[in-house]
Protein backbone atom coordinates (compact mmCIF):
# COMPACT_ATOMS: atom_id res chain seq x y z
CA UNK A 1 0.00 0.00 0.00
CA UNK A 2 1.24 3.43 -0.85
CA UNK A 3 1.60 5.41 2.37
CA UNK A 4 0.69 8.75 0.91
CA UNK A 5 -0.93 11.11 3.44
CA UNK A 6 -4.09 11.32 1.37
CA UNK A 7 -4.39 7.55 1.25
CA UNK A 8 -4.01 7.32 5.02
CA UNK A 9 -6.62 10.05 5.45
CA UNK A 10 -9.05 8.17 3.23
CA UNK A 11 -8.57 4.88 5.03
CA UNK A 12 -8.87 6.50 8.44
CA UNK A 13 -12.06 8.28 7.47
CA UNK A 14 -13.52 5.11 5.98
CA UNK A 15 -12.78 2.93 9.00
CA UNK A 16 -13.95 5.48 11.53
CA UNK A 17 -17.16 5.96 9.58
CA UNK A 18 -17.77 2.23 9.29
CA UNK A 19 -17.06 1.70 12.99
CA UNK A 20 -19.44 4.44 14.05
CA UNK A 21 -22.11 3.23 11.64
CA UNK A 22 -21.92 -0.30 13.04
CA UNK A 23 -22.18 1.03 16.59
CA UNK A 24 -25.15 3.14 15.57
CA UNK A 25 -26.86 0.27 13.77
CA UNK A 26 -26.66 -1.83 16.92
CA UNK A 27 -28.67 0.76 18.83
CA UNK A 28 -30.77 1.47 15.79
CA UNK A 29 -32.01 -2.09 15.80
CA UNK A 30 -32.97 -1.74 19.47
CA UNK A 31 -34.80 1.45 18.73
CA UNK A 32 -36.66 -0.09 15.82
CA UNK A 33 -37.77 -2.98 17.99
CA UNK A 34 -38.53 -1.38 21.32
CA UNK A 35 -39.24 2.28 20.74
CA UNK A 36 -42.55 3.39 22.18
CA UNK A 37 -42.80 7.00 23.13
CA UNK A 38 -45.89 6.38 25.24
CA UNK A 39 -44.49 4.04 27.85
CA UNK A 40 -42.13 5.11 30.57
CA UNK A 41 -40.07 1.98 30.93
CA UNK A 42 -36.42 2.18 31.71
CA UNK A 43 -35.34 0.88 28.29
CA UNK A 44 -37.39 3.54 26.55
CA UNK A 45 -35.79 6.30 28.57
CA UNK A 46 -32.36 4.85 27.95
CA UNK A 47 -33.08 4.76 24.22
CA UNK A 48 -34.28 8.35 24.32
CA UNK A 49 -30.99 9.39 25.85
CA UNK A 50 -29.00 7.21 23.49
CA UNK A 51 -30.63 8.47 20.33
CA UNK A 52 -29.46 11.96 21.12
CA UNK A 53 -25.86 10.81 21.19
CA UNK A 54 -26.17 8.52 18.21
CA UNK A 55 -27.93 11.06 16.01
CA UNK A 56 -25.19 13.55 16.74
CA UNK A 57 -22.48 10.98 16.02
CA UNK A 58 -24.13 9.91 12.80
CA UNK A 59 -24.59 13.51 11.71
CA UNK A 60 -20.82 13.91 11.89
CA UNK A 61 -20.17 10.53 10.27
CA UNK A 62 -22.45 11.26 7.35
CA UNK A 63 -20.98 14.74 7.08
CA UNK A 64 -17.61 13.04 6.83
CA UNK A 65 -19.07 10.73 4.22
CA UNK A 66 -20.00 13.73 2.09
CA UNK A 67 -16.47 15.05 2.30
CA UNK A 68 -14.91 11.67 1.66
CA UNK A 69 -16.16 11.60 -1.91
CA UNK A 70 -14.18 14.72 -2.70
CA UNK A 71 -11.23 13.51 -0.66
CA UNK A 72 -11.22 10.31 -2.70
CA UNK A 73 -11.08 12.17 -6.00
CA UNK A 74 -8.45 14.50 -4.60
CA UNK A 75 -6.41 11.47 -3.53
CA UNK A 76 -6.68 9.88 -6.96
CA UNK A 77 -5.56 13.17 -8.46
CA UNK A 78 -2.61 13.51 -6.05
CA UNK A 79 -1.33 10.02 -6.77
CA UNK A 80 -1.10 10.48 -10.53
CA UNK A 81 2.68 11.17 -10.57
CA UNK A 82 3.21 7.65 -9.23
CA UNK A 83 1.67 5.87 -12.15
CA UNK A 84 2.94 5.85 -15.68
CA UNK A 85 0.30 6.84 -18.18
CA UNK A 86 -1.87 8.55 -15.61
CA UNK A 87 -2.21 12.28 -15.87
CA UNK A 88 -5.27 12.79 -13.74
CA UNK A 89 -7.54 10.95 -11.34
CA UNK A 90 -9.00 8.93 -14.22
CA UNK A 91 -5.73 7.13 -14.72
CA UNK A 92 -5.14 6.54 -11.00
CA UNK A 93 -8.60 5.06 -10.56
CA UNK A 94 -7.82 2.63 -13.34
CA UNK A 95 -4.69 1.09 -11.81
CA UNK A 96 -6.67 -1.79 -10.41
CA UNK A 97 -10.17 -3.18 -10.68
CA UNK A 98 -11.51 -1.47 -7.54
CA UNK A 99 -10.95 2.19 -8.27
CA UNK A 100 -14.04 2.95 -10.31
CA UNK A 101 -16.47 0.69 -8.42
CA UNK A 102 -15.43 2.48 -5.22
CA UNK A 103 -16.11 5.82 -6.88
CA UNK A 104 -19.58 4.77 -8.04
CA UNK A 105 -20.42 3.47 -4.57
CA UNK A 106 -19.13 6.66 -2.99
CA UNK A 107 -21.41 8.72 -5.19
CA UNK A 108 -24.36 6.51 -4.25
CA UNK A 109 -23.48 6.77 -0.55
CA UNK A 110 -23.08 10.51 -0.82
CA UNK A 111 -26.68 10.81 -1.91
CA UNK A 112 -27.91 8.42 0.78
CA UNK A 113 -25.88 10.23 3.45
CA UNK A 114 -27.33 13.54 2.33
CA UNK A 115 -30.87 12.16 2.55
CA UNK A 116 -30.18 10.84 6.04
CA UNK A 117 -28.89 14.22 7.17
CA UNK A 118 -32.01 15.92 5.81
CA UNK A 119 -34.24 13.37 7.55
CA UNK A 120 -32.29 13.78 10.79
CA UNK A 121 -32.63 17.54 10.72
CA UNK A 122 -36.38 17.26 10.22
CA UNK A 123 -36.68 14.69 13.02
CA UNK A 124 -34.91 17.04 15.40
CA UNK A 125 -37.47 19.74 14.75
CA UNK A 126 -40.26 17.68 16.26
CA UNK A 127 -40.71 17.30 19.99
CA UNK A 128 -41.68 13.65 19.89
CA UNK A 129 -39.04 12.17 17.59
CA UNK A 130 -41.57 11.82 14.78
CA UNK A 131 -39.24 10.35 12.17
CA UNK A 132 -37.07 8.28 14.42
CA UNK A 133 -38.06 4.89 13.09
CA UNK A 134 -37.73 6.01 9.47
CA UNK A 135 -34.34 7.48 10.28
CA UNK A 136 -32.96 4.28 11.75
CA UNK A 137 -34.54 2.22 9.02
CA UNK A 138 -32.69 4.31 6.48
CA UNK A 139 -29.54 3.87 8.54
CA UNK A 140 -29.99 0.09 8.45
CA UNK A 141 -30.34 0.34 4.68
CA UNK A 142 -27.29 2.56 4.22
CA UNK A 143 -24.99 0.73 6.63
CA UNK A 144 -24.15 -2.26 4.41
CA UNK A 145 -23.30 0.09 1.54
CA UNK A 146 -20.93 2.05 3.74
CA UNK A 147 -19.25 -1.14 4.91
CA UNK A 148 -19.02 -2.36 1.32
CA UNK A 149 -17.53 0.96 0.28
CA UNK A 150 -14.87 0.66 2.98
CA UNK A 151 -14.03 -2.85 1.82
CA UNK A 152 -13.75 -1.81 -1.83
CA UNK A 153 -11.77 1.27 -0.96
CA UNK A 154 -9.34 -0.80 1.11
CA UNK A 155 -9.01 -3.28 -1.74
CA UNK A 156 -8.32 -0.43 -4.11
CA UNK A 157 -5.56 1.11 -2.05
CA UNK A 158 -4.06 -2.21 -1.00
CA UNK A 159 -3.81 -3.66 -4.48
CA UNK A 160 -2.27 -0.53 -5.93
CA UNK A 161 1.09 -1.26 -7.44
CA UNK A 162 3.45 1.40 -8.62
CA UNK A 163 4.77 -0.45 -11.64
CA UNK A 164 1.48 -0.65 -13.47
CA UNK A 165 0.97 1.25 -16.68
CA UNK A 166 -2.50 2.66 -16.60
CA UNK A 167 -4.67 4.13 -19.29
CA UNK A 168 -4.63 7.83 -19.77
CA UNK A 169 -7.95 9.59 -19.54
CA UNK A 170 -7.57 10.57 -23.14
CA UNK A 171 -8.13 6.96 -24.10
CA UNK A 172 -10.55 6.04 -21.30
CA UNK A 173 -12.94 8.77 -22.31
CA UNK A 174 -12.39 8.69 -26.02
CA UNK A 175 -14.97 7.57 -28.52
CA UNK A 176 -12.43 5.30 -30.20
CA UNK A 177 -12.61 2.59 -27.62
CA UNK A 178 -15.23 0.02 -28.37
CA UNK A 179 -16.10 -0.87 -24.80
CA UNK A 180 -16.49 0.92 -21.53
CA UNK A 181 -18.98 3.42 -20.26
CA UNK A 182 -16.40 6.18 -20.57
CA UNK A 183 -16.33 5.93 -24.29
CA UNK A 184 -20.09 5.52 -24.55
CA UNK A 185 -20.58 8.76 -22.69
CA UNK A 186 -17.90 10.47 -24.70
CA UNK A 187 -19.40 9.45 -28.00
CA UNK A 188 -22.71 11.15 -27.30
CA UNK A 189 -22.88 13.85 -29.94
CA UNK A 190 -21.89 17.14 -28.38
CA UNK A 191 -24.29 19.73 -29.76
CA UNK A 192 -27.52 17.68 -29.51
CA UNK A 193 -26.46 16.75 -25.99
CA UNK A 194 -26.01 20.40 -25.16
CA UNK A 195 -29.53 21.32 -26.24
CA UNK A 196 -30.88 18.33 -24.34
CA UNK A 197 -29.01 19.46 -21.23
CA UNK A 198 -30.40 22.98 -21.39
CA UNK A 199 -33.90 21.70 -22.12
CA UNK A 200 -33.86 19.30 -19.20
CA UNK A 201 -32.39 21.94 -16.89
CA UNK A 202 -35.10 24.39 -17.88
CA UNK A 203 -37.79 21.82 -17.03
CA UNK A 204 -36.11 20.98 -13.72
CA UNK A 205 -35.72 24.61 -12.65
CA UNK A 206 -39.27 25.41 -13.70
CA UNK A 207 -40.61 22.51 -11.66
CA UNK A 208 -38.57 23.58 -8.64
CA UNK A 209 -39.67 27.18 -8.80
CA UNK A 210 -43.29 26.10 -9.26
CA UNK A 211 -43.01 23.93 -6.17
CA UNK A 212 -41.41 26.74 -4.21
CA UNK A 213 -44.21 29.14 -5.06
CA UNK A 214 -47.22 26.84 -5.06
CA UNK A 215 -46.16 23.95 -2.86
CA UNK A 216 -47.27 21.40 -5.46
CA UNK A 217 -45.22 18.83 -7.28
CA UNK A 218 -42.60 18.06 -4.66
CA UNK A 219 -42.23 14.46 -5.75
CA UNK A 220 -41.97 15.52 -9.39
CA UNK A 221 -39.19 17.91 -8.55
CA UNK A 222 -37.34 15.26 -6.56
CA UNK A 223 -37.50 12.87 -9.52
CA UNK A 224 -36.43 15.57 -11.97
CA UNK A 225 -33.58 16.49 -9.64
CA UNK A 226 -32.21 12.99 -9.75
CA UNK A 227 -32.64 12.79 -13.51
CA UNK A 228 -30.95 16.16 -13.98
CA UNK A 229 -28.05 14.96 -11.87
CA UNK A 230 -27.45 12.02 -14.16
CA UNK A 231 -27.92 14.16 -17.27
CA UNK A 232 -25.44 16.70 -15.90
CA UNK A 233 -22.80 14.05 -15.26
CA UNK A 234 -23.24 12.71 -18.79
CA UNK A 235 -23.11 16.25 -20.11
CA UNK A 236 -19.86 16.96 -18.35
CA UNK A 237 -18.24 14.06 -20.16
CA UNK A 238 -20.04 14.66 -23.42
CA UNK A 239 -19.57 18.35 -24.09
CA UNK A 240 -18.93 20.56 -21.05
CA UNK A 241 -15.43 19.18 -20.64
CA UNK A 242 -14.62 20.01 -24.26
CA UNK A 243 -15.30 23.69 -23.68
CA UNK A 244 -13.37 23.84 -20.44
CA UNK A 245 -10.32 22.18 -21.92
CA UNK A 246 -10.72 23.87 -25.30
CA UNK A 247 -9.82 20.52 -26.85
CA UNK A 248 -12.36 18.85 -29.13
CA UNK A 249 -11.40 15.33 -28.15
CA UNK A 250 -10.79 15.56 -24.42
CA UNK A 251 -13.83 14.33 -22.51
CA UNK A 252 -12.28 13.48 -19.17
CA UNK A 253 -14.42 14.51 -16.16
CA UNK A 254 -11.46 14.42 -13.78
CA UNK A 255 -8.95 16.78 -15.39
CA UNK A 256 -11.21 19.72 -14.58
CA UNK A 257 -10.37 19.41 -10.90
CA UNK A 258 -6.72 20.13 -11.55
CA UNK A 259 -4.95 23.29 -10.50
CA UNK A 260 -4.38 24.33 -14.10
CA UNK A 261 -8.11 24.61 -14.58
CA UNK A 262 -8.44 26.58 -11.35
CA UNK A 263 -9.98 23.61 -9.52
CA UNK A 264 -13.17 24.30 -11.45
CA UNK A 265 -14.18 20.67 -11.25
CA UNK A 266 -14.56 20.78 -7.48
CA UNK A 267 -16.90 23.74 -7.71
CA UNK A 268 -18.98 22.15 -10.45
CA UNK A 269 -19.29 18.89 -8.56
CA UNK A 270 -20.06 20.54 -5.22
CA UNK A 271 -22.88 22.51 -6.88
CA UNK A 272 -24.19 19.44 -8.63
CA UNK A 273 -24.08 17.10 -5.66
CA UNK A 274 -25.55 19.73 -3.34
CA UNK A 275 -28.38 20.29 -5.78
CA UNK A 276 -29.30 16.63 -6.13
CA UNK A 277 -29.24 15.93 -2.39
CA UNK A 278 -31.47 18.88 -1.52
CA UNK A 279 -33.74 18.06 -4.45
CA UNK A 280 -34.20 14.44 -3.41
CA UNK A 281 -34.59 15.65 0.18
CA UNK A 282 -37.75 17.46 -0.92
CA UNK A 283 -39.24 14.17 -2.02
CA UNK A 284 -37.97 12.31 1.05
CA UNK A 285 -39.63 14.69 3.50
CA UNK A 286 -42.86 15.44 1.66
CA UNK A 287 -44.78 12.42 3.03
CA UNK A 288 -44.41 13.80 6.56
CA UNK A 289 -45.88 17.22 6.17
CA UNK A 290 -48.99 16.16 8.11
CA UNK A 291 -47.15 14.83 11.14
CA UNK A 292 -48.43 16.77 14.11
CA UNK A 293 -45.21 17.75 15.77
CA UNK A 294 -43.73 18.90 12.47
CA UNK A 295 -46.75 20.76 11.17
CA UNK A 296 -45.44 24.21 11.82
CA UNK A 297 -41.92 23.78 10.52
CA UNK A 298 -41.71 21.05 7.91
CA UNK A 299 -43.42 22.74 4.97
CA UNK A 300 -41.18 25.75 5.34
CA UNK A 301 -38.08 23.60 5.53
CA UNK A 302 -39.05 21.58 2.46
CA UNK A 303 -39.57 24.76 0.48
CA UNK A 304 -36.18 26.02 1.58
CA UNK A 305 -34.63 22.76 0.41
CA UNK A 306 -36.28 23.14 -2.98
CA UNK A 307 -35.04 26.69 -3.26
CA UNK A 308 -31.52 25.64 -2.34
CA UNK A 309 -31.61 22.92 -4.96
CA UNK A 310 -32.86 25.31 -7.63
CA UNK A 311 -30.22 27.88 -6.78
CA UNK A 312 -27.46 25.28 -6.91
CA UNK A 313 -28.61 23.91 -10.25
CA UNK A 314 -28.92 27.45 -11.59
CA UNK A 315 -25.41 28.28 -10.41
CA UNK A 316 -24.13 25.12 -12.05
CA UNK A 317 -25.81 26.07 -15.32
CA UNK A 318 -24.50 29.61 -15.10
CA UNK A 319 -20.97 28.36 -14.59
CA UNK A 320 -21.26 25.90 -17.47
CA UNK A 321 -22.70 28.59 -19.74
CA UNK A 322 -19.91 30.96 -18.80
CA UNK A 323 -17.34 28.33 -19.73
CA UNK A 324 -19.05 27.63 -23.04
CA UNK A 325 -19.38 31.28 -24.01
CA UNK A 326 -15.86 32.26 -23.09
CA UNK A 327 -14.16 29.18 -24.41
CA UNK A 328 -12.16 29.49 -27.58
CA UNK A 329 -13.56 26.20 -28.74
CA UNK A 330 -16.28 26.20 -31.34
CA UNK A 331 -18.11 22.98 -31.98
CA UNK A 332 -19.55 22.76 -35.46
CA UNK A 333 -22.47 20.52 -36.23
CA UNK A 334 -20.40 18.03 -38.27
CA UNK A 335 -17.91 17.35 -35.55
CA UNK A 336 -18.82 14.28 -33.55
CA UNK A 337 -16.05 13.15 -31.28
Amino acid sequence: MILHPTVIANMLAAYISSGMVLYAVFYGVQILRYWDIENGHELQLVLERKTYLISTLLAYVFGLQLLSLFLYIFTADSLTPLFVGAMCAAGTLNVDAFGYPTLVLKIFNFILAGIWLVLNYADNQGYDYPLIKKKYLLLAFVAPFIILETILESAYFLSMEADVITSCCGSLFSSERKTGIGSELASMPALPMMWFFYGAMFCTLASGIFFYIRGLGGYLYAALSLLMFIISLVSIVSFISLYIYELPTHHCPFCIIMEEYHYLGYLLYILLFGAVVSGIGVGALSPYRQVESLQSVLSGFIRKLALASVILYAAFTALVTYEIIFSSLVIAYEVVY
Binding site: I37, G40, H41, E42, Q44, L45, E48, R49, Y52, N124, Y127, D128, Y129
Partner: protein, 223 residues
Protein backbone atom coordinates in the same frame (compact mmCIF):
# COMPACT_ATOMS: atom_id res chain seq x y z
CA UNK B 1 -51.09 20.24 36.79
CA UNK B 2 -47.88 18.31 37.32
CA UNK B 3 -48.18 14.55 37.33
CA UNK B 4 -45.50 12.06 38.15
CA UNK B 5 -46.20 8.49 37.11
CA UNK B 6 -44.05 5.70 38.49
CA UNK B 7 -40.95 7.85 38.55
CA UNK B 8 -37.72 6.10 39.43
CA UNK B 9 -34.26 7.57 39.60
CA UNK B 10 -31.20 5.43 39.89
CA UNK B 11 -27.63 6.72 40.00
CA UNK B 12 -24.65 4.69 38.79
CA UNK B 13 -26.88 1.94 37.44
CA UNK B 14 -25.09 -1.36 36.97
CA UNK B 15 -22.19 -0.43 39.22
CA UNK B 16 -21.60 -1.71 42.75
CA UNK B 17 -22.29 1.84 43.95
CA UNK B 18 -25.76 1.80 42.43
CA UNK B 19 -28.05 4.04 44.40
CA UNK B 20 -31.78 4.34 44.01
CA UNK B 21 -32.78 7.89 44.86
CA UNK B 22 -36.46 7.59 43.97
CA UNK B 23 -38.57 4.43 43.93
CA UNK B 24 -41.84 4.45 42.06
CA UNK B 25 -43.04 7.90 42.98
CA UNK B 26 -46.58 8.76 42.00
CA UNK B 27 -47.48 12.34 42.70
CA UNK B 28 -49.93 14.97 41.62
CA UNK B 29 -49.11 18.63 42.22
CA UNK B 30 -52.13 20.89 42.22
CA UNK B 31 -52.41 24.12 40.29
CA UNK B 32 -52.07 27.39 42.20
CA UNK B 33 -51.19 25.53 45.36
CA UNK B 34 -48.20 25.65 47.61
CA UNK B 35 -46.78 22.16 48.00
CA UNK B 36 -43.95 21.34 50.38
CA UNK B 37 -41.78 18.27 50.00
CA UNK B 38 -40.63 17.29 53.46
CA UNK B 39 -38.19 14.64 54.50
CA UNK B 40 -34.83 13.92 56.08
CA UNK B 41 -31.69 14.49 54.10
CA UNK B 42 -31.07 11.70 51.61
CA UNK B 43 -34.79 11.08 51.15
CA UNK B 44 -34.71 12.21 47.54
CA UNK B 45 -36.33 15.64 47.90
CA UNK B 46 -33.87 17.51 45.75
CA UNK B 47 -33.82 14.74 43.16
CA UNK B 48 -37.59 14.82 42.96
CA UNK B 49 -37.57 18.57 42.69
CA UNK B 50 -35.06 18.58 39.87
CA UNK B 51 -37.13 16.04 37.94
CA UNK B 52 -40.27 18.12 38.40
CA UNK B 53 -38.38 21.20 37.26
CA UNK B 54 -37.13 19.56 34.04
CA UNK B 55 -33.58 19.74 35.23
CA UNK B 56 -32.95 16.03 35.09
CA UNK B 57 -34.65 13.01 33.62
CA UNK B 58 -35.91 9.99 35.53
CA UNK B 59 -34.54 6.50 34.95
CA UNK B 60 -38.07 5.25 34.46
CA UNK B 61 -41.58 6.66 34.54
CA UNK B 62 -43.17 9.72 33.01
CA UNK B 63 -43.77 13.31 34.06
CA UNK B 64 -46.65 15.34 32.66
CA UNK B 65 -46.69 19.09 32.82
CA UNK B 66 -50.14 20.57 32.24
CA UNK B 67 -51.02 17.46 30.28
CA UNK B 68 -47.86 17.52 28.16
CA UNK B 69 -45.35 14.72 28.50
CA UNK B 70 -41.95 16.21 29.20
CA UNK B 71 -39.59 13.37 30.02
CA UNK B 72 -39.22 12.28 26.41
CA UNK B 73 -38.67 15.75 25.03
CA UNK B 74 -35.43 16.35 23.16
CA UNK B 75 -33.13 18.68 25.00
CA UNK B 76 -33.80 21.82 22.98
CA UNK B 77 -37.53 21.63 23.66
CA UNK B 78 -36.93 20.92 27.32
CA UNK B 79 -34.76 23.98 27.78
CA UNK B 80 -37.46 26.08 26.20
CA UNK B 81 -40.10 24.82 28.63
CA UNK B 82 -37.77 25.13 31.57
CA UNK B 83 -36.94 28.69 30.69
CA UNK B 84 -40.53 29.81 30.26
CA UNK B 85 -42.40 27.76 32.83
CA UNK B 86 -40.19 27.53 35.86
CA UNK B 87 -38.48 29.92 38.19
CA UNK B 88 -35.79 28.40 40.38
CA UNK B 89 -34.78 29.52 43.84
CA UNK B 90 -31.89 27.62 45.34
CA UNK B 91 -30.49 27.14 48.80
CA UNK B 92 -27.62 29.46 48.00
CA UNK B 93 -28.48 32.57 46.02
CA UNK B 94 -26.03 31.42 43.33
CA UNK B 95 -25.56 34.86 41.92
CA UNK B 96 -22.73 35.31 39.45
CA UNK B 97 -19.84 37.26 40.91
CA UNK B 98 -18.26 40.05 38.95
CA UNK B 99 -21.42 41.39 37.37
CA UNK B 100 -24.05 43.67 38.85
CA UNK B 101 -27.29 42.66 40.49
CA UNK B 102 -29.26 43.96 37.54
CA UNK B 103 -27.25 41.88 35.07
CA UNK B 104 -27.72 38.81 37.23
CA UNK B 105 -31.44 39.34 37.34
CA UNK B 106 -31.76 39.77 33.57
CA UNK B 107 -29.63 36.77 32.70
CA UNK B 108 -32.27 34.03 32.34
CA UNK B 109 -34.14 36.19 29.84
CA UNK B 110 -31.29 36.63 27.36
CA UNK B 111 -31.98 33.49 25.29
CA UNK B 112 -35.51 34.69 24.71
CA UNK B 113 -34.22 37.69 22.82
CA UNK B 114 -36.39 40.33 24.36
CA UNK B 115 -35.63 43.97 23.72
CA UNK B 116 -33.08 45.11 26.27
CA UNK B 117 -34.83 48.27 27.43
CA UNK B 118 -38.03 46.31 27.94
CA UNK B 119 -36.17 43.70 29.93
CA UNK B 120 -34.44 46.29 32.03
CA UNK B 121 -37.77 47.84 33.00
CA UNK B 122 -39.11 44.47 34.05
CA UNK B 123 -36.01 43.81 36.12
CA UNK B 124 -36.14 47.18 37.84
CA UNK B 125 -39.81 46.67 38.65
CA UNK B 126 -39.06 43.29 40.16
CA UNK B 127 -36.24 44.70 42.25
CA UNK B 128 -38.51 47.51 43.44
CA UNK B 129 -41.16 45.06 44.57
CA UNK B 130 -38.66 43.40 46.85
CA UNK B 131 -37.15 46.69 47.98
CA UNK B 132 -33.69 46.28 46.61
CA UNK B 133 -33.82 48.60 43.61
CA UNK B 134 -31.19 50.77 45.26
CA UNK B 135 -28.79 47.85 44.92
CA UNK B 136 -29.40 47.38 41.18
CA UNK B 137 -25.98 48.58 40.09
CA UNK B 138 -24.05 47.04 42.98
CA UNK B 139 -21.74 44.11 42.65
CA UNK B 140 -23.24 40.98 44.17
CA UNK B 141 -20.37 40.55 46.62
CA UNK B 142 -21.58 43.60 48.52
CA UNK B 143 -25.06 42.26 49.25
CA UNK B 144 -26.11 40.92 52.61
CA UNK B 145 -27.53 37.41 52.85
CA UNK B 146 -31.13 38.53 52.75
CA UNK B 147 -30.55 40.96 49.91
CA UNK B 148 -28.83 38.25 47.88
CA UNK B 149 -31.74 35.91 48.48
CA UNK B 150 -34.17 38.55 47.35
CA UNK B 151 -32.09 39.24 44.24
CA UNK B 152 -32.20 35.56 43.39
CA UNK B 153 -35.97 35.60 43.80
CA UNK B 154 -36.27 38.51 41.35
CA UNK B 155 -34.10 36.52 38.96
CA UNK B 156 -36.39 33.55 39.30
CA UNK B 157 -39.32 35.73 38.32
CA UNK B 158 -37.83 37.51 35.33
CA UNK B 159 -39.50 35.29 32.72
CA UNK B 160 -42.81 35.47 34.53
CA UNK B 161 -42.93 31.75 35.18
CA UNK B 162 -46.03 29.90 36.13
CA UNK B 163 -44.34 27.57 38.58
CA UNK B 164 -41.86 28.50 41.28
CA UNK B 165 -39.47 25.87 42.54
CA UNK B 166 -37.56 26.53 45.71
CA UNK B 167 -35.00 24.15 47.20
CA UNK B 168 -34.47 24.75 50.93
CA UNK B 169 -34.94 28.50 50.48
CA UNK B 170 -34.77 29.39 54.16
CA UNK B 171 -31.70 27.31 55.00
CA UNK B 172 -29.45 30.34 55.31
CA UNK B 173 -31.95 32.89 56.45
CA UNK B 174 -32.74 34.04 60.00
CA UNK B 175 -36.29 33.90 61.35
CA UNK B 176 -37.26 37.41 60.32
CA UNK B 177 -36.05 36.88 56.75
CA UNK B 178 -37.71 33.48 56.65
CA UNK B 179 -41.06 35.05 57.50
CA UNK B 180 -40.44 37.68 54.87
CA UNK B 181 -39.77 34.90 52.40
CA UNK B 182 -43.02 33.14 53.20
CA UNK B 183 -44.86 36.42 52.66
CA UNK B 184 -43.37 36.57 49.18
CA UNK B 185 -44.59 33.01 48.60
CA UNK B 186 -48.08 34.09 49.65
CA UNK B 187 -47.91 36.83 47.11
CA UNK B 188 -47.02 34.29 44.41
CA UNK B 189 -50.02 32.23 45.36
CA UNK B 190 -52.24 35.27 45.14
CA UNK B 191 -50.89 35.92 41.67
CA UNK B 192 -52.01 32.48 40.55
CA UNK B 193 -48.64 30.78 40.54
CA UNK B 194 -47.94 27.25 41.66
CA UNK B 195 -45.19 26.82 44.24
CA UNK B 196 -43.21 23.75 45.14
CA UNK B 197 -40.79 23.95 48.04
CA UNK B 198 -38.49 21.43 49.64
CA UNK B 199 -37.72 22.13 53.23
CA UNK B 200 -37.11 20.63 56.59
CA UNK B 201 -37.68 23.95 58.27
CA UNK B 202 -40.89 23.81 60.39
CA UNK B 203 -41.36 27.49 59.79
CA UNK B 204 -42.01 26.58 56.18
CA UNK B 205 -43.99 23.40 56.30
CA UNK B 206 -46.12 24.42 59.23
CA UNK B 207 -47.01 27.72 57.63
CA UNK B 208 -50.71 28.38 57.09
CA UNK B 209 -50.42 29.09 53.39
CA UNK B 210 -49.07 25.66 52.61
CA UNK B 211 -51.76 23.56 50.94
CA UNK B 212 -50.09 20.20 51.00
CA UNK B 213 -47.13 18.57 52.64
CA UNK B 214 -45.64 15.53 50.96
CA UNK B 215 -43.52 13.31 53.19
CA UNK B 216 -40.60 11.63 51.55
CA UNK B 217 -38.56 8.87 53.06
CA UNK B 218 -35.94 6.76 51.27
CA UNK B 219 -37.15 7.79 47.86
CA UNK B 220 -40.78 6.98 48.43
CA UNK B 221 -43.79 8.97 49.48
CA UNK B 222 -45.07 8.12 52.90
CA UNK B 223 -48.79 8.00 53.00
Amino acid sequence: MIELLNVKKVFNAGNPSEFSALNSVNLHIGENKVTVLKGPSGSGKTTLLSIIGCMSRPSAGRVRLQGREITSLPERFLTDIRRKTFGFIFQQPNLIKGISVLDNVMLPAYPLGEKRSHLKNKAMKGLAELNISNKAASKVEWLSGGEAQRASIVRALINDPHIIIADEPTAHLDTKLSYRFMEIIEKFKAEGKTVIITSHDPLVYESSMVDRVVNLRDGQIEV
